[in-house]
Amino acid sequence: MIPQDSFIIVAKIDPVQLDKLRSLLKTMTFADRTGMADPDNPLVRFRDFDEIHFARFVVLADNTLNDRAHYPQLPSREPFYLCFMVDCDGSADELLARMAQRPDGLRTIFGHCEEFGQTTDLLGWLRAHRVKPAASYVNWVGRSVGQVREEARLHDLLRAALSGIEKSEPQKILVRLRQSIMLPEPLKPAPPTPLSWRIRNVAHLLLPFVVALVCLALFPIITIVLLGVGSVLFVIALRWHEQTDPFVDQPYDANRVAELRGGEDHDVTNQYTAMGSIKPGRFRLWTEVAILYGINWVARHIFTRGSLARIGTIHFAHWVFLDQGRRAFFCSNYDGGHEAYMDDFINKAGFGLNLSFSSGIGYPTTDWLLARGAWLEQEFKRFQRRHQIPTDVWYKAYPGLTAHDLARNSRIRNGFEKAAMSDDEIRRWLAEI
């Protein structure tokens, strides 16, 4: 299989160039489809890069810095950043190098950033501005863009062929279906998984256990005492913070929501970008770091086949720290409308929202880190809309297809390639088509 990777470039925008940059990014999108990238736009021709699943350019313009009035120890101003995020098949670094071979568009775009001049080495500069996400999620590890596209084509052909086939015995239908399908090119078998990726993945899987075992083996008493005392102290600190964190009103801004809505529901999938400040102090930051490590670990090793806990509508998602942990941003690509996404999240995985976002200033009050918070439904919804920022340019390689579509098409392909099926299996397979 081809594992997925991502790169996230974050660079400070030259403040005087901010408006020009926004206008420039607008030229990469379709005129009456706010934020939807034209795959053939001359600046970054996404269509030419077959390994890109999703990509976005977004000006990280924080809407909520005023909330820091409750925390005088935090600076009242922060820079604007330009974020360029790509989810891809194979090595993201290699993709970045290939994209940098067409430097003109990227130079024009990043020319609006600080410390970027006409003579700057583009690739080196991009690599230097790459940030590592604290946590990432991939809907289905190993499903490549090429596979998505050929399986979608197969489904279309099978569906069209099936409507022209008369009722008969399942085996006969199967034979006739297979005969009538003329694929423009044969389905490509999954290439072998790169060994280096496998090794790194296993290492990542084992790391927490190895660390735990080493600690327990070498310093058993210290480890146990530290863990025990640490847990107690953590809970005390957590409850103290939860009960004393200032309440920050999250008003609803109709104009802002209207602007965000303008970029939504042009496709069956939508983009989401949100940012905000993390509550100051080591407790909240370290808690957040630990939680995101946990989310990243379960996303990488457990939820690799179509759903994150109960949420089956997210294609890719990233959690990223900014400004030495003073701020963070979150990006996702999800199926369905915004309201449905939030309802789904609150009702199925509200605890997950609380875990991953409750360190943010203004987040609805949680109980014991897991309870309340997102379940304060309307307050949470206002919070997240207020922290959301418009995604200036958003690209998806397979418009019209949801994560459920992709999974179903893969199942159909499996049946199509299977040498023999029983009558019952054929019936079930036909129902999927």
Binding site: G312, E339, D344, A407, N414
Partner: protein, 531 residues
């Protein structure tokens, strides 16, 4: 304004609630929907002060008064009556926006193509209503009542947008199906505590706050509503909330009105053609699309007699069924109208579970080996979800209790005889439904049901099919985002010998007008009408 949690049970003041919240006035066989615009605010307010909408308290009488009026306002209407922007902005954002004034909303609700608001008969621009006056009476008396009420309104300087009539089709909608069987039951006596383990199963009993503002909703919270500071004018008219603000929303609700024209001849023509192609009767085809038989009973093979909170004996055999025994839609297609409008799902897939499974479910896992015949038990492991993971497709639609509406619609036009030959050259007289529903949170209830369940071509992991009755069949997405993708399919998994996919469904239902209204409590009405 923050939602405040409260476990207090507020005493219900039946004299403050418009009766439509609890009754459809079924004994009043005729209705008129009078759409008005305010021209002179002070004269209009004076006219409002003379109105006496029927309250819930009248329901304790032996029979309802022979003439009933109910009243509701759009955001534009409240603005025209002189309500300040700062107060108006505290209403639900969807209500303040209006149903037809935002392209994104139109895309989500399926109001594109022939359904686009620009094609509506009423609801946009000069035809946007300010006030909806609903009148109910007998067939003989309704005209006199309407004339009298309209004369008074016109005399107060209001202008008429339209008067829409219903017609009594004996609880059958124009396509010929028995209608109005499935309705949520609201917890008027309020013993319900939402969010307990019992809600892992489907419940038809909902917290009163899903219907009326000022009461706990299904999250155990009070839905956002306008609360007026003591300094606002005439605030003493209003009841007080717990924080001593004037509670403008209390006992009010949001009323969604959509006039839906139904192409009855076109529906039965297509159904007959499809039935012939797949070798069943046209009734069977139509019933599979609706999800009920013509007489309103559930489709065969769905076990009835299930115990569901909020479904009482009156509905035994008609509403005491679930879809959990039919995950693949073999008895009732997953895309059937009633399954979209209310998927009857609890908070977790498969309903109530033991403690271990409850915990695992949160993580999307289960101890139950899936033995039902679906693709998840197909013999290949690659590219399929395998135990112990819950198939995400099986969990695509959950927690129906947050997405229910109380329907108050009535039919209109003349019911055509589907068996009569119909010359397509002569346009049939228009018939359809005045779809009215009540809810406390337009975004989470009406818009969610309409957008994510009815209009979406991806409902419950389906592909390329909208509601078989209500879909607008507009391809989505369209160029330049993608080559137009059809949404005009309908899948009948139970069709022997294998699943039947129909395509090319025409549009059967067209939106002719619509608006979001606020149905105030009667004290709130007095406040709105005050000078």
């Amino acid at each position: 304004m923050t939602a405040r949690e409260t476990n207090m049970r507020r005493e219900i003041d039946a004299t403050d609630i418009q009766a439509i919240a609890r009754t459809a006035f079924g004994s009043h066989k005729s209705a008129r929907y009078v759409l008005l615009r305010v021209v002179q605010p002070s004269a209009a307010r004076q006219w409002l002060r003379g109105l006496t909408p029927t309250s819930l308290a009248k329901m304790s009488l032996k029979e309802l008064p022979p003439e009933i009026s109910q009243i509701a306002f759009t955001a534009e209407g409240l603005r025209a009556l002189g309500i300040k922007d700062t107060i108006l902005q505290q209403f639900s954002p969807e209500f303040v926006d209006g149903i037809a004034n935002n392209d994104n909303r139109s895309r989500r609700l399926g109001d594109t193509g022939a359904n686009a608001p620009t094609n509506w008969r009423w609801g946009v621009g000069e035809k946007e209503a300010h006030i909806l006056l609903m009148l109910f009476s007998t067939v003989e008396q309704i005209k006199a009542l309407t004339d009298r009420m309209l004369d008074q309104a016109l005399a107060a300087g209001l202008s008429k947008v339209d008067i829409l009539s219903d017609s009594d089709m004996d609880n059958t909608e124009p396509f010929g199906f028995r209608d109005g069987i499935s309705q949520p039951t609201f917890d008027w006596d309020r013993p319900r505590i939402p969010g307990t383990k019992a809600d892992q199963d489907y419940t038809n009993l909902l917290a009163l706050g899903e219907l009326l503002l000022g009461y706990r909703n299904e999250y155990g919270l009070l839905t956002d509503r306008p609360l007026l500071a003591a300094s606002e004018k005439n605030v003493d008219i209003l009841p007080k909330d717990l924080t001593d603000h004037g509670d403008l929303g209390l006992n009010g609700s949001y009323l969604v009105y959509r006039q839906l024209a139904q192409d009855v001849a076109g529906f039965w023509r297509w159904v007959a053609g499809e039935a012939a192609r797949s070798g069943i009767t046209k009734e069977q085809q139509a019933e599979s699309m609706v999800g009920r038989k013509l007489d309103g009973s559930p489709l065969p093979d769905l076990p009835v007699g299930r115990s569901i909170p909020g479904v009482d004996e009156r509905y035994s055999g008609r509403n005491d069924f679930l879809f959990d025994t039919d995950p693949d839609g073999l008895s009732c297609p997953v895309g059937a109208h009633i399954r979209r409008a209310n998927p009857r799902t609890g908070d977790v897939p498969g309903g109530r579970k033991g403690p271990l499974d409850s915990l695992l479910t949160i993580l999307g896992l289960t101890t139950r080996r899936d033995r039902r015949p679906t693709s998840s038990t197909l013999p290949w492991r690659r590219n399929t979800t395998v135990w112990p993971f819950i198939r995400s497709e099986d969990d695509a639609v959950a927690s129906a209790r947050f997405h229910r509406i109380l329907r108050r619609g009535r039919e209109y036009g003349s019911k055509p005889d589907p068996d009569l030959g119909h010359d397509p050259a002569i346009p049939a007289p228009e018939t359809g439904i005045h779809f009215l529903c009540l809810n406390a949170n337009i975004a989470r209830q009406f818009e969610f049901v309409q957008g994510a369940w009815i209009a979406s071509a991806k409902f419950a992991a389906l592909a390329g099919e909208q509601d078989p009755l209500l879909g607008n069949r507009e391809p989505f997405p369209t160029n330049p985002i993608a080559d137009p993708q059809p949404t005009d399919g309908f899948t009948r998994p139970g069709a022997p010998p294998h699943c039947r996919h129909a395509s090319g469904l025409p549009q059967f239902v067209r939106v002719r007008g619509g608006a979001y209204f606020f149905l105030p409590g009667l004290a709130a009405l007095r406040w709105i009408a005050s000078d």
